[in-house]
Amino acid sequence: MEVFEAIRGRRSIRNFEDRPVGKEVLQRLIEAGIWAPSGGNAQTWRFIVVTEKHMLNKIKMLSPGLLGDPPAVIVVCQNRKEAERKGGRLGVELVSVMDTAMSAQNIMLAACALDLGTCPIASFHREGIQRLLRLPEEILPHLLISVGYPKGAPNPPERQTEGICFFEEYRG
């Protein structure tokens, strides 16, 4: 699949088929994630891949933004201690968040190329997820990505194209 095809074809999927996603496929998605750029090549991301039904149920209870019943969830985390050591205050407060986002987009585009549906979820209880997944204090969950085979796909919302991009200087 062409990159642009994946970029334009990706949708946020909230309805999944009752069909598991293989471990090797999930590992390929993580591989896509770790090939994202990171500020200062910090690579302070950590990924927890959850596929067991009882754990997915518990994640769902702590995540109002997780809709539908995906067969897998990738929890994208950052090691705050390492991010601070490598990037200072900027690293932990801003750069690590952007690194998470860039990695997540790689994962979602790779999933699209593999005919999988995904949805990024920021609405979850961070401390609850930390406790559930036994994450040490320095490992902060930033984003959940639900993964599964899509049952239908929503139409793409319109994209705003006017007044958002300027060459050379801002003219808003």
Partner: protein
Amino acid sequence: MDRKALEENAFELVSYMVVSARNLLDEPPRYGPFRLVDAASRLVENLNKTDLGSERLEKIKTQIEAGKYSVMTSEEEFHEFLDSLVSSLIEDMRWCAKPDGARDDYLL
């Protein structure tokens, strides 16, 4: 559905509602009505697994599922969707039990 499964379903729904309440303190205001109608839909789904489902409950769930994601795309459309839900509920209130004698003809 046995009592244990029923309790687990109820616990899941309660968790969803309580965590939503906490998270909504930090989330966009329009997510509040979204979580409420989504919780209503989940409640009906749970009731459908028992013998407490009904046509009017199923109808409102279907309407919620068809329109709830407009919250992501259009504020105006979401507003209209919520208005239409309320109108639909008012229609179905005629089947509510009267004080002088319970009516159960809305049950499946």
